[in-house]
Subunit: 362 residues, 4 copies
Amino acid sequence: MSGVWGNNIRLSIFGESHGKGIGIVIDGLPPGVELNLDYINKEMQRRAPGKNNISTPRKEADQFEILSGYFNDRTTGAPLSAVIWNSNQRSKDYDSIKNVMRPGHADYPGYVRYSGYNDYRGGGHFSGRITAPLVFAGAIAKQILNKKNILVGSHIKCIENISDDELDFVNIDFNMLKEISNKSFPVINDEKGELMKEAILDASSDLDSVGGIIEAAILNLPAGIGSPFFDSVESKLSHMLFSVPSVKGVEFGVGFDITKMRGSESNDQYFIENDKVKTYTNNNGGITGGITNGMPVIFRVAIKPTPSISKKQKTIDIASKENKELEVHGRHDPCIVQRAVPVIESVSAITILDLMMEKGEI
Amino acid sequence: MSGVWGNNIRLSIFGESHGKGIGIVIDGLPPGVELNLDYINKEMQRRAPGKNNISTPRKEADQFEILSGYFNDRTTGAPLSAVIWNSNQRSKDYDSIKNVMRPGHADYPGYVRYSGYNDYRGGGHFSGRITAPLVFAGAIAKQILNKKNILVGSHIKCIENISDDELDFVNIDFNMLKEISNKSFPVINDEKGELMKEAILDASSDLDSVGGIIEAAILNLPAGIGSPFFDSVESKLSHMLFSVPSVKGVEFGVGFDITKMRGSESNDQYFIENDKVKTYTNNNGGITGGITNGMPVIFRVAIKPTPSISKKQKTIDIASKENKELEVHGRHDPCIVQRAVPVIESVSAITILDLMMEKGEI
Amino acid sequence: MSGVWGNNIRLSIFGESHGKGIGIVIDGLPPGVELNLDYINKEMQRRAPGKNNISTPRKEADQFEILSGYFNDRTTGAPLSAVIWNSNQRSKDYDSIKNVMRPGHADYPGYVRYSGYNDYRGGGHFSGRITAPLVFAGAIAKQILNKKNILVGSHIKCIENISDDELDFVNIDFNMLKEISNKSFPVINDEKGELMKEAILDASSDLDSVGGIIEAAILNLPAGIGSPFFDSVESKLSHMLFSVPSVKGVEFGVGFDITKMRGSESNDQYFIENDKVKTYTNNNGGITGGITNGMPVIFRVAIKPTPSISKKQKTIDIASKENKELEVHGRHDPCIVQRAVPVIESVSAITILDLMMEKGEI
Amino acid sequence: MSGVWGNNIRLSIFGESHGKGIGIVIDGLPPGVELNLDYINKEMQRRAPGKNNISTPRKEADQFEILSGYFNDRTTGAPLSAVIWNSNQRSKDYDSIKNVMRPGHADYPGYVRYSGYNDYRGGGHFSGRITAPLVFAGAIAKQILNKKNILVGSHIKCIENISDDELDFVNIDFNMLKEISNKSFPVINDEKGELMKEAILDASSDLDSVGGIIEAAILNLPAGIGSPFFDSVESKLSHMLFSVPSVKGVEFGVGFDITKMRGSESNDQYFIENDKVKTYTNNNGGITGGITNGMPVIFRVAIKPTPSISKKQKTIDIASKENKELEVHGRHDPCIVQRAVPVIESVSAITILDLMMEKGEI
C-alpha cells in the first residue's frame, strides 16, 4: 500500500509524472466549508517549477480540476477529488535510459518493488510531482485550520552551509511567520536568503545540486491534541513528513541537540500567565508525551540535495546487469528545498487537521 | 486512539505504571513459529531497570505471562497476548504531587487530553514502563526475522557529548553488530562506553540527567521493501520510533548532515558485484524513494535526558492554577538511553516484520 | 487479521477456550465515564452458560478482571483492558478427537487456515466463549449510549418453527423493549417462549440442537448517523454481527420480504409531527442510503443450530485422511440463541457507539 | 468516512451523479497484471442503463478513462485510478424538488448527515451511479481471480414473487455458472426470466417498481481463507454487499432457513474423495467459523424495489417543514436487480481478492 493515509480525513493519491494526470481523493472533510480556490491556486504555484533561475525551467501549469465533493462553492462532505492534468512532458527523454538506474532516485528500489512493471518515465509514481496533490489538500486543510486561528508556517533554515536567522521557539509572532512563509524564498533574513540562492546557483553551475533544512512552526494549536504511543503528534507528523520524497531527517523542538543538554535544561518548565499555561523554554517543540502542550509546535526537516544532476555518475544497467556511467542532461532543479516548503507545510496541515478532528475540535 | 498499530501484524498495548499490569495483544503473527521464551526474557531484561548504578534502583521483574495465541511451544496464528504484572509500586509517592505538573513529562498534556481523568500515578499510561510489552513483541519479531537472516542491531552513538566510534554504513559485519548489541552497555568502543557511564554518573550526582543518540542498523533486508509516499520505510519506522517516549529526532543514513553535501556526494552510486547490486556509499541509509535498496538500513534516534530529575524546577499546580516549585526525590534513571536500546530495536523489528509481511516475504 | 475492529473505538480480542484466559482491549473510550460494574456483570451473566436446562450445564464464572484504563471508578481514556480467566475446563475431553473435524465447527477451516497450529481444544480461539469479552465491551458501550437515551434491545423472534409476536417497527415503547430484553428468555409473548423452550428440550432429548432468529431494535438514534457506501450503518452493523459465531443471515427492516413488495409500499413515506420527521412505515428499518433516518433501527439475525450435537455424524480424520464417524458426548447447548441475545446486542451497541463517535455525537 | 475500503487492496471512490465525473482509486494491486480493457468495458455495460425496456431509458456511456497505475498494458503496482465522465444529465430536473425528500432515497438522511450541503442533484454521491466505479474495480479483481480459476457468478433468484430454478449448492458447474452470469438477464431458467420481466413491466405500467434477490456463488476458492471474528469471510463480504445501495439483507448458505433445521441437518458433514475434503451438503455456504472450507461460497442479497417511482407519495419539504405530496416523473428503472447483478459480483470479487491477498495466495 502506498497512497492511502489518515484516520479522520483520508487521502488517496494517484498518478505518474508522465501519465495522463495526477490527483487526490480527500474523504472525510467536514461539509459546508467554503473554499477559496484562488488561495489553493496560490499555494500550488509556490510548489510549481519554472518560476525562476533556481528551479527547473520545466513548466508545469499545476492547474487543478475538482471532480467531486464540491457544490455551490462549498465542500459537500462527500469525497472531494481533484485531478492535475499532465502536460509539457518529454517522455522520449527517458526511453533511452529506462534500464539505467539513476543514483539517489527510486529507479532501482522501485524496479525491484514492482518487478520491473513500474512506469519509469520521469520517476513515474515516485516523482516529486506527486506532491502537487498534497499541496492541493494542504491548502484546504490550512483554510479549515485558519478558522481556528491555527497557522502552519515555515522558513528555510539552511541551504548547504548557509543558515537563516534563529526562530524564537517561545514567542513567534503570528503575522511575522505568515509573512515569512509567503515570501517567494521564505527566510527570516533576506540577506541570508540571497547567500542561499548564490549557493544554489553555484551548485547549478557545477552541474550539481544542494539540499537544506526547513523549519516549521504551528501556532495556536490547543493543548491536549494527540495521543500517547502510536498516535503521538510526533509519530503522525513524522509519518507524513517522511512520505515526502527526499526527506531524510525529522526532529522536534531542539531535536538532536537535546541530547547535548541535561534534564534540568531540556525540561520546559511551566508557569501560568493570565490563566494560560506556558513554558519558559520550548526545547520539546510544543509536544510532551506525544501530546501538544499549547506552546508552538516546532520541527525541522532535512531535505537531501536533488538527486537529478548532470554530473557523470557510476551506476548499473538493470537489464544487462552491467556497470556503466550516466550523464543525465535535462531540466533539473539544482535545489528543491524552496519548492518543498509548501509541501512540508501542507502535509503538516493535513496531519494537524486529522488530529484536531480526532479530538473533536473540528 | 493511541494503542493500536499495524497493517499486517497489529499491536494493541495497554496498562499503566501503577495499575494491575501492562500488556499487549499481537494479532496477525504467522502460525507455527516456535518461540524461544528465554530469548524473550533476556531481551526484556535488557530494558528492565535496577540492573546497575546508571539505572533506577527501582526493581521491576518484567516477567511476562502469555495468555493466548501460544500452544505446544508455537504461535497458533490467533492473537498472542501477554501481561506483565506490576509490583514494587509505591503509589503513595505520587498522591501528594498529583496536581503538580512535572516538567518534561506528559502530566500536563495528559491532564488536558483526558480531562483530568488519566491515572497520574507514575505517569500512568504515559510511563516508559509501557515500552516493556513492546520489547516482548520485538523479541518475537526478531526471532521471526532471524530466520530470514535479518538482524536489527544498534549501539549508543553518544551520551551527552561523548561519542562512540563510527559505524561503517557500507560494510557492517553481522556478528560484530550482534555482539555489540548484546553488550550490557552497547557501544563499539568500550573505552568510550566508560566515559559515557561517567557522564551519566556525573549528571546523577548533580541530581540531573542526560540523554543521547542510538544508532541502529538493519542487515540483510532485501531490496524492494516498503512503498512510495505514505508507507515509505522511513514513514513507517519513524512513526514507531517517535511513539517511544523521549524520542525527539529520527534521521536516516547520514541524516541532517546530508544537507551539507552536494548531490554528487549524497547520491549513492551503484555497482554490481557478484550479481548483487550495491552502492559505494550509503548516505541514504539503505532507502531511496521510501523503499529499501538492499544496503544496510541505518538510522539514528535522539533520546532526550530523562525528565525525572531531583533538582528543583518551576512548575504549576493544575488544581489551584498557581505557580510553584517542585523537587521530585525518587528512584530516577539519570539516563534511559541504554535501557531504550532494546526498545528502539524492538519497535524497528516489529515495523520491519510488518513491511516484510506486506511484501509477502514472511 | 481477525481480532481488531473499529475506527473510533478499537477492540482487540484474544483468548482460547482452554487457554489461561480470554480478554479484550478497548481503545478510544471517552475519559471520565463512570462504569457500573454490577451492570457489566449482569450482562455477562446473561451470556454465561450453566443457568438452566436449556443451556449447557458447563459452568463458566465469566468474572472479568479489569487490568487498565480504569481509575477511581472511571474510564481514563487510555486503553481499557479486561481478562476473564478460564476454569472448569476439561481439556482432556478434546485430546482424543483432535484430528477428527467436527461438522459445523471451525475445526477443518481453522486447521487449514493455521496450518494445523491452532489450539484445537474446545474450538480454541474459534470458541463461542470468545464472545464473553464482546459482552463486556458491549455493556460499557450500552452505558455510554444510555446517557444519550439510546437503547439497544432485542427479542427472540423464533426458535426452529415457533415464532414470537410481531414487533411494531414504527412505535416501540422504550420501557417495554427494555423489559423484554432483560427477561431471562427474552420474548414478547411468554407463552410462545414456553413453546420455544419445549422445542429446545425436544431437540436436546433427540441428541440434536436448534437455532433461531434474534430481532433487535435500536431506539432514539438520531438521524444522520452513518455514511454512504463503505461505512453505511448496514455495512458496519452486519460486519460486526457476522463476526459472531453461528450467524448466517442479517436483514434490516422487513429484510428479504422487501423483495415481495412494490416500491410504493416499501418506500417509507415521510411526515412531520410536532417538528419531528417520521415515516408512516419502517420497512427500511430506520436506514436509507446507509444513514439513519431517526426511526427505530430494526434488524434480524439468523443463528444456526448449535453445531455441537451428540448424534452420530460423518466426518474425516485430518491426520489419517480417512472418513470416519463421530459421536461427541459432552455438555452441549441444545440451543445458543438465548445466550446469543446479549452478544448480538453488545456488538450492535459497540458499532453504534463507534458510529456516534464518528459523527461527534459522543 | 465513506469512500475508503480495504486492507490489502484499498478502494477510494468519489463522485456525484450530476458532477463532472465519478471514479475510483485502487491501491495495492499486484504489478504486472495484464488487463483486458474490453472485458472491463463489457462488465460495465452489464450495469449501464438504457439497454432495454426494463431499465431506465437514460443513457450513460459509462466509458472509463484510466488515469494512472497502468503502463504498457499492465498494472504498475502504483494506485490505479479511473474516471467515468458524466454526461446526459438533466440537472434542472432536480432543482424544483431539492427540498422535497424522496421516500426510500437518501435525501433526508443525507440532508441531516451533511447539514444540507450535500449535492442533491440525482441523489448526488448517494446515487446508484457511483456503483459504476465498483464494477470497474470488480472487473479487474475478476481478471486476477480468474488466473487462479476462481469464478464469481450469480443469477437472479427472484423478482417480486417469481423465482428462478434452484441452484445445487454442492455441485455447481463452472461453465454453466459462467454462462448464466453472462446472460443479459441472468437466470437459470429463461422461462422464469420471461415471467420476471413481465412482472417488471407490469410494475412499470403501474408507475411502480419491484425488487428481488440475487444469489451468488464463488467457485474454487481454497479452504482456509478468512479469519475468525472481525475478519470473517461473512463479515467482509456483508460489509461490502451492504455498501451497495438498496441492499437490505444478506444471507449465506441456506441463510435464514437454517433456523428451521436441526443441527444434525444443518451441519455439513465431511468426507474425503480423491484426497479432497468435501461436504455432503452445503448449508453453511462454504464458510464455517468465518473461514472457507473449500466448498462453493454461496450467498443471497435482497434488493429492495427501486425507490424512484412515478406514483404519488407523501413526504415533507425540508425547508418549509411542511407535509406535502410528491410525484416524480422521470426516467426511472422499474427494477434495478438485473443491473445490480454485476455490482454484487464486483464487490464480492474485490472482497475475495483482498482476502486472498491477506492469506498470501495472490
